[in-house]
């Protein structure tokens, strides 16, 4: 649990820093790296000892989460600079949304199969 708290407080710092004076790019990058490393550890911690029954659903569920890149896709599609960025952005939204919706839906379907029997 400690890791969650550390990550959380770091994020709050990062958020506060954004609102006020602009921090130096290097310090922002270091914060980003810190968040990255801590989240990586959280990922390791969170799923140790998964029963094999859940390997496939866990994989497709985490796969859906990797569709978070949809955030970037929406922002990129909105850049509206030229034909290429708009095209790329729309395709990115399309791809990421398939990943997100398909991922969560198919995971739900799989888990439903395990749930049917008591």
């Amino acid at each position: 649990m400690n890791l969650y708290l550390i990550t959380t407080s770091l994020l709050a710092d990062g958020a506060a820093a954004h609102g006020t004076a602009a921090p130096s790019p290097a310090s922002m990058f270091v914060t980003a790296i810190t968040v990255f490393i801590l989240a990586t550890f959280v990922g390791f911690e969170v799923i140790t000892k998964v029963p094999p029954t859940l390997h496939t659903p866990l994989m497709s569920g985490s796969n859906a989460i990797s569709g978070i890149t949809i955030i970037g896709a929406i922002l990129a599609a909105g850049l509206k600079l030229n034909f290429i960025t708009i095209t790329f952005g729309i395709i990115a939204i399309f791809f990421a949304m398939i990943n997100v919706v398909g991922g969560f839906a198919v995971t739900h379907r799989m888990l439903g199969m395990f749930k049917k029997k008591g």
């Binding site: 994020l11 958020a15 130096s24 390997h55 994989m59 989460i65 955030i71 790329f88 952005g89």
Partner: protein, 478 residues
């Protein structure tokens, strides 16, 4: 919406993802876990749409395009999720990984083009530093995204058994070529980060990374596919994390790295189950049948085959039966027939359990999903470690389309390509029935002495039809 509120909501989404993964790793909370993840994603998307709405650079057309992309993508995703058969799940997950990686690649490309269009190379020290971090992250997102996208397409194509998808080594010395490609992509990335006037290097870099993604995946065979799908899943997370660095968005970084690291853990679990190192899988070190006994030596005159009727009599008075499903069962979609067989045997007073090897099928846990689809109670589905000690008290072990995971050579021949791989000890059962189309070797390409063992009966036939015939025979004999 203020930046603080926005980031707080992204943080909320990130916490949802952490809880989602935690819950997804326990059977009782898995459904809630998935819903939690979806909720987090919904919040993240809603916040981002609002950010886009507030952005003065985006006008009416922009909204339309974003909206259309979201709606069409959702419909396509939902359609795929509803339509895909459970046997097709590995391809589906592979394909979705690819879409995630592809999206990250395209986002990185968009951001880069936007910067290139914005004008000159910065000269002020702070701006230069900022730009270096940006370019480095963009190159990383492009590299990982391209490898994930093309690697996943090849993997999904191979799993779908599309004939035109390349398989095996496409060019001579492919391993060397891959190493060179990797070095070249990294070199181009470093170059562009160093010399900020050469941002266009991104495009040749992505081209090389795409080729790398294809080349890395083509030589990997069926049995290693679970690991590859898992690894690509991990990559798709890392690509998202790299995109987070490009956009300086902590929500993306957290969600991406969570997926990246949890994917790597699953890979490790799987490699351990096969007694292989990740490196071995990636560089295709699993030798083909070199040394060891030839098929003729192993099988010559020793293989006994039986018909459904003969087998029906065999089950007379048996008390304990263990069914071992393998990839062959998945291919012939025999899981429902297998359940009927178990019911017929139970009706005759036998206890039936299922022994599942961790890497049976084409995706970790794939067999469990297939058995669950056929309404087989999961307390009867045992893991390898759990069931192995009970084979010597088992009357009949029925192996359906599994090969390497029941090959006793793994225990006996240290020179064999599967030496040391933990296997299901079906050979210790009183009688072994192997349902298989022919004596053809499994992925490891070696003959299986189990098939010629004195206590083994081969039951040749296509999985589903063979099992249905057997069900009829068992019912008739009973």
């Amino acid at each position: 919406m203020s930046e603080a509120v926005r980031n707080a909501l992204y943080l909320f989404a990130s916490i949802c993802f952490i809880i989602a993964l935690k819950r997804l790793s326990h059977p009782r909370t898995a459904v809630r876990g998935n819903v939690t993840g979806a909720l987090g994603m919904l919040v993240a998307i809603a916040v981002t749409c609002f950010v886009a709405y507030e952005n003065p650079d985006i006008s009416g057309l922009g909204y339309w395009l974003i909206g259309i992309g979201l709606v069409i993508g959702s419909i396509a995703g939902l359609y795929l999720a509803v339509r895909v058969p459970m046997t097709g799940m590995p391809q589906m997950v592979g394909l979705l990984n690819g879409f995630g990686g592809g999206a990250s690649l395209l986002v990185a490309a968009c951001e880069l083009i936007a910067r290139m269009g914005a004008g000159d190379v910065p000269t002020e020290a702070t701006a230069v530093t900022e730009m270096r971090f940006f370019v480095g992250s963009t190159m990383a997102a492009g590299l990982i995204g391209a490898v994930t996208f093309f690697g996943s397409l090849v993997a999904a194509g191979k799993l779908q058994e599309l004939k035109w998808v390349p398989s095996g080594n496409v060019i001579p010395a492919q391993q060397l070529a891959n190493a060179l490609l990797l070095i070249a992509t990294i070199a181009l990335s470093v170059w562009a980060t160093y010399d900020l006037s050469k941002l266009w290097l991104f495009f040749p870099m992505v081209l090389l990374a795409s080729v790398l993604g294809v080349f890395v995946t083509t030589p990997i065979g069926g049995a290693d596919m679970p690991v590859v799908i898992c690894l690509l899943n991990s990559y798709s997370g890392m690509a998202a994390a790299a995109t987070g660095f490009v956009l300086n968005n902590y929500g993306l970084i957290i969600a991406g790295s969570l997926v990246g690291s949890s994917g790597i853990i699953l890979c490790q679990i799987m490699c351990k189950a096969m007694n292989r190192s990740l490196g071995n899988v990636l560089f295709g070190k699993l030798g083909t049948a070199s040394g060891g006994a030839s098929a003729d030596d192993v099988y010559g005159g020793k293989v006994k085959s039986a018909s459904a009727e003969e087998l029906g009599l065999l089950f007379d008075g048996v008390r304990r039966v263990v069914i071992v499903p393998g990839y062959g069962m998945a291919v012939s979609q025999a899981q429902h027939a297998v359940r009927d067989l178990a019911n017929a045997l139970e009706a005759r007073g036998a206890t039936v359990e299922y022994g599942v090897h961790p890497v049976a099928g084409r995706m970790p846990g794939h067999m469990n999903v297939l058995l669950a689809e056929a309404n087989i109670p999961y307390d009867k589905v045992k893991e390898m470690d759990e069931i192995n000690s009970s084979f010597d008290q088992t009357d009949v072990a029925i192996v359906i389309g599994a090969n390497d995971v029941v090959n006793p050579v793994a225990r006996t021949d240290p020179k064999s390509p599967i030496a040391g791989m933990p296997i299901l000890d079906v050979d210790k059962a009183r009688t072994v029935v192997v349902v298989k189309r022919s004596l053809s070797p499994g992925f490891a390409g070696i003959p299986n002495p189990l098939f010629a063992a004195p206590n083994t009966l081969m039951y040749f036939g296509d999985g589903k039809k063979a099992i249905l015939d057997l069900v009829a025979a068992v019912k008739q004999a009973g």
